[in-house]
C-alpha cells in the first residue's frame, strides 16, 4: 500500500478516467480514438476492481483476477475492433464515425 494515498483519491482518478472515456466516446469522430476512449472506460473499471479488493478484502484475490480477465478480454476486443475498423476503412474510404450510417432507417 502506497502511503498517503487513500481509497478516495484512487476513486477520483478512476472516475475521471471513466468520464473522460465517455466524453471521448461521444465526441470524437475518429473510430480509433473512440476505441481508445473505450479502453479508458475499461481501465477505469479495472482500477476500481483493484482498489476495492485492496481496501475491502485484502486477503482475497477475486478483484485482481477479475481485472486480469478484463485486460485479457479487452486485448481480444481491441483486436476485433481494429479488424472492424480496417474493414470500415476499406468500404467507406475513411474511418469517420458519422459516415458509418448505412444501418439507418
Amino acid at each position: 500500500m502506497i502511503e498517503g494515498i487513500g481509497v478516495f483519491d484512487v476513486l477520483v482518478v478512476s472516475t475521471a478516467m471513466f468520464f473522460i472515456g465517455i466524453y471521448g466516446f461521444l465526441v470524437r469522430k475518429n473510430l480509433i480514438t473512440i476505441l481508445m476512449s473505450v479502453e479508458l472506460v475499461l481501465n477505469a473499471v479495472n482500477i476500481n476492481f483493484v482498489v476495492f479488493n485492496k481496501y475491502l478484502y485484502p486477503d482475497m484475490l477475486q478483484g485482481y483476477m477479475f481485472s486480469l480477465f478484463a485486460i485479457g478480454i479487452a486485448a481480444a476486443e481491441a483486436a476485433v475492433a481494429i479488424a472492424i475498423i480496417l474493414n470500415v476503412f476499406r468500404r467507406m474510404k475513411g474511418i469517420d464515425v458519422e459516415h458509418v450510417d448505412s444501418m439507418k432507417y
Binding site: 461521444l26 444501418m103 432507417y105
Partner: protein
C-alpha cells in the same frame, strides 16, 4: 325378414360410382366409345338388378302380413353426432323406392343407349358419360336413402350433376348461364329444405325414415301444440321441406330454371329434366307423406301450388316455339299434377288414392315424357334446329320417330289406352274427392295439355312441306331402340294396377275406374286435339289470327308471364340496390376503413419517429448515457425516500 334377398341392391350404387370414377378419371385415355360402353354396361347392370328387385319385392317377397314392408338390406353408420343422433348411409326398399329405382334405371339406360347416337362425334363424349354415371349414381342414392340426411347429400349431388350436364356445352354462354341459374335457384330452395331437416331432426331426434314414419306417429308427437307466428311448427317444417322439393321439381315460383335447363344436351333433358331429377320433389313429399298427412295445412299449400303451377305452365307451353321449351313447360305442368295429387290425398286405404295416383303419374310421366324428349332430340338431330318454325311434314322422313312421338303425345294427352290416361284419371278422381275446383282446373289443364302437345306434333310432323337444306333422315338404331322401348312402355304401363302395389300406407287396395271422371277428361282431350288439328294440321294462319286478336294474352304467355323479368327486377332493384349495395358500402368503408385507418395511423407515426434510428453511433451513445444517468437519478431519488 327378407332383407338379405335384396342385399345385391348395394351393387347398384357401387357399380355406378366406380363407372363414374373410371370414366371420369381415365375417360380421356380410353376410346370414346369404350368410355361410353363402360357407363352403359354399368347402368344396364343396375337395370337388371332393379328389375329383379322389383319383381322379388312386388310379386314374391315384399308383403309382410298383407302390407308392403319397409326393408333396409344395408345400413352403415357414417357420422355420429351424439348418443342418439347419427347419420347412416344405407339402402331402403319400399314400394316407392323400388318404383323409382325402376323408373330411374329404365330411363337412364335408355338415355345411355340413345346418347351413343345423339352425341356421336361430340367433343367431350366420355365426359358426358362420366356425368351421366354420376347422375345415375346420385339419383339412385337419393331414391334408396334410408334417412333424410343421406337424401339431402344425394339431393345436392343430383343438383351438382344436373349443373354439370346443363353446362355441358361450356363454350356456349347461354348454357353456362342456364347451368348457373339452375344451380342457384335449386340451391336457394335447398336452404329451406335444410332448415326443414334440421328443425325436424331437432324435434324428433332422428333422421331415419323408418322412425319418422312410424305409423303410431310417435316421432312427430313432440311437435304437437308448438307453433310459430300463429302457424303450427309441423306445418312450418313440412312447408320448408316442401320448399326444397318445389325448387327441385320446378314448382311456381321456383320454376324459372327448368326451361333454361334445356340448354343441355337433349338426352340429358329427357333423363334429368323430365323423368327423374325433377320428380325428386314429388318423391320427397311422397317419402315423408306419413308426416305430411299429419300436417293438413302443408298439404293444402302443396295442393294449391301444384294446381296453380300446372295451369300456369300449361298456358305458357301453348305459345312457346322452341320444341324443348314446350316440353319443359309441359313437364312443369305435369309435375304440378303430381303435387296436386299428393296435396289432395288422405292417408291410408282408399283415402290414399291421391298418393297412389301421384306415384302412378310419376311412373307413366317418366316413360312418355322421356320418350317425348328423346323424340324431340331425334327431330333436332335431323333438322339441326330447336324451333318449330323450322320443322314440318317430318312424318315422311322419320316414320319411327313420328309413330313413337305420336304414342307419347296421346299418352300425355290422356287418350286411352295409353299410360297417361289411367294415371290422370286417378289424379282427377282424387281431386274431385277433395275439391271440385281442383278437379275443374286440372280438367281444363288436361285440355290445354292435349292442345299444346298436338300443336307441337302437328307442326313438327305434319303441316306444310318445307325445303330442307339437308334432307332429314331417320335417326340411327341406337336412337330408335330407346324410342321404341319407351313407346311400348308408354302404351302398356297404364294397365299396371298401381293401387295394388304403391299406396300411402303399404296396404294394397283396389282402385275403381271412374267413368264419370274419365268421360269428361277424354272429351276435353279430344277437344284439345281437335282445336290443335284445326289450327295447325292444314297450312294456314288461324293460329296467327288468334294470336293477333288477343295480343295481351298472347304476349303474356309467350314471355312466360314475365316471371324471369320480375325476378331480375327484384334482384337488381331490391336485392342489389337495397341490400347488397349498402352491405358492400359497409364492407368497403367501415370494415376495410377501420383496418386501413389503423395502418394509416401506424404509418404516419412511424414516419415521425423513424429519425431516431439515424445510424449515427454517437447519438445512440448519448441516448444510452443519458438513459443511464436518468436511471441513476431515479434510483437515487427513490433510495432517498
Amino acid at each position: 325378414m327378407h332383407t338379405e334377398l335384396y342385399s345385391n341392391t348395394v351393387w347398384i350404387l357401387i357399380v355406378l360410382f366406380f363407372a363414374f370414377i373410371i370414366v371420369g378419371l381415365f375417360g380421356n385415355r380410353l376410346k370414346p366409345t369404350l368410355a361410353g360402353a363402360i357407363s352403359t354396361i354399368a347402368i344396364l347392370f343396375t337395370t337388371v338388378i332393379s328389375y329383379t328387385t322389383a319383381y322379388l319385392y312386388f310379386f314374391q317377397q315384399g308383403m309382410i302380413d298383407g302390407k308392403f314392408a319397409m326393408l333396409i338390406p344395408f345400413e352403415h353408420e357414417w357420422l355420429r353426432f351424439s348418443d342418439t343422433l347419427a347419420i347412416h348411409m344405407g339402402i331402403m326398399i319400399d314400394p316407392i323406392s323400388v318404383m323409382m329405382m325402376v323408373v330411374v334405371t329404365t330411363v337412364s339406360s335408355m338415355v345411355h343407349i340413345y346418347s351413343f347416337g345423339y352425341m356421336k362425334g361430340e367433343k367431350g363424349f366420355e365426359r358426358y358419360f362420366a356425368f351421366l354415371s354420376l347422375f345415375s349414381f346420385s339419383m339412385l342414392g337419393l331414391v334408396l336413402s334410408t334417412n333424410l340426411f343421406q337424401m339431402y347429400i344425394f339431393w345436392e349431388l343430383v343438383g351438382a350433376s344436373s349443373y354439370l350436364l346443363i353446362g355441358f356445352y361450356y363454350q356456349k354462354p347461354s348454357a353456362v348461364a342456364a347451368s348457373k341459374k339452375a344451380f342457384i335457384v335449386t340451391r336457394f330452395a335447398d336452404l329451406g329444405f335444410l332448415i326443414g331437416i334440421l328443425l325436424l331432426s331437432y324435434f324428433t331426434g332422428t333422421f331415419d325414415f323408418a322412425t319418422l314414419l312410424d305409423s303410431s306417429g310417435s316421432a312427430v308427437s313432440s311437435m304437437t301444440g308448438l307453433s310459430f307466428m300463429g302457424i303450427s311448427t309441423i306445418t312450418w317444417v313440412m312447408v320448408l321441406i316442401f320448399m326444397g322439393g318445389a325448387g327441385k321439381s320446378a314448382m311456381f315460383p321456383l320454376h324459372i330454371w327448368l326451361p333454361d335447363a334445356m340448354e343441355g344436351p337433349t338426352p340429358v333433358s329427357a333423363l334429368i329434366h323430365a323423368a327423374t331429377m325433377v320428380v325428386a320433389g314429388v318423391y320427397l313429399v311422397a317419402r315423408l307423406f306419413g308426416i305430411y298427412a299429419g300436417a293438413p295445412d302443408a298439404l293444402a299449400v302443396i295442393a294449391f301450388i301444384g294446381a296453380f303451377t300446372s295451369l300456369f305452365a300449361a298456358i305458357i307451353a301453348v305459345t312457346q316455339t322452341d320444341i324443348k321449351r314446350v316440353l319443359a313447360f309441359s313437364t312443369i305442368s305435369q309435375i304440378g299434377y303430381m303435387m296436386l295429387a299428393l296435396g289432395v290425398s288422405g292417408y291410408g286405404g282408399e283415402d290414399g288414392l291421391g298418393f297412389t295416383a301421384s306415384m302412378f303419374h310419376l311412373f307413366t310421366h317418366a316413360m312418355f315424357k322421356a320418350l317425348l324428349f328423346l323424340g324431340a332430340g331425334s327431330v333436332i338431330h335431323a333438322v339441326h334446329s330447336n324451333y318449330m318454325n323450322d320443322m314440318g311434314s317430318l312424318r315422311k322422313y322419320m316414320p319411327i320417330t313420328h309413330i313413337t312421338f305420336l304414342i307419347a303425345a296421346l299418352a300425355i294427352s290422356g287418350i286411352p289406352p295409353f299410360a297417361g290416361f289411367f294415371s290422370k284419371d286417378e289424379i282427377l278422381a282424387a281431386a274431385w274427392a277433395n275439391n271440385p275446383l281442383y278437379f275443374w282446373t286440372e280438367w281444363f289443364v288436361a285440355g290445354l295439355t292435349a292442345f299444346y302437345m298436338f300443336r307441337l306434333y302437328f307442326s313438327v310432323f305434319w303441316g306444310e312441306k318445307r325445303d330442307y337444306q339437308h334432307k332429314p333422315h331417320e335417326s340411327p338404331v341406337s336412337m330408335l331402340f330407346p324410342l321404341v322401348y319407351l313407346a311400348v312402355a308408354s302404351a302398356v304401363v297404364g294397365f299396371i294396377p298401381f293401387s295394388e302395389f304403391v299406396t300411402s300406407d303399404g296396404m294394397p287396395f283396389h282402385a275403381h275406374f271412374h267413368w264419370n271422371i274419365a268421360i269428361p277428361s277424354i272429351a276435353i282431350a279430344v277437344v284439345g286435339i281437335a282445336i290443335a288439328a284445326w289450327m295447325y294440321l292444314k297450312p294456314g294462319n288461324v293460329a296467327n289470327k288468334l294470336a293477333t286478336s288477343m295480343p295481351a294474352v298472347y304476349k303474356l304467355s309467350l314471355n312466360k308471364f314475365y316471371i324471369d323479368e320480375i325476378y331480375l327486377w327484384i334482384t337488381h332493384n331490391i336485392i342489389f340496390k337495397g341490400i347488397a349495395a349498402p352491405i358492400a358500402w359497409f364492407d368497403k368503408h367501415i370494415v376495410d376503413g377501420s383496418m386501413d385507418g389503423i395502418a394509416w395511423v401506424t404509418q404516419r407515426f412511424s414516419e415521425k419517429i423513424k429519425g431516431t434510428q439515424s445510424g449515427q453511433l454517437q447519438q445512440y451513445g448519448y441516448a444510452m448515457v443519458l438513459g443511464a444517468v436518468a436511471f441513476v437519478l431515479l434510483l437515487l431519488y427513490w433510495g432517498a425516500r
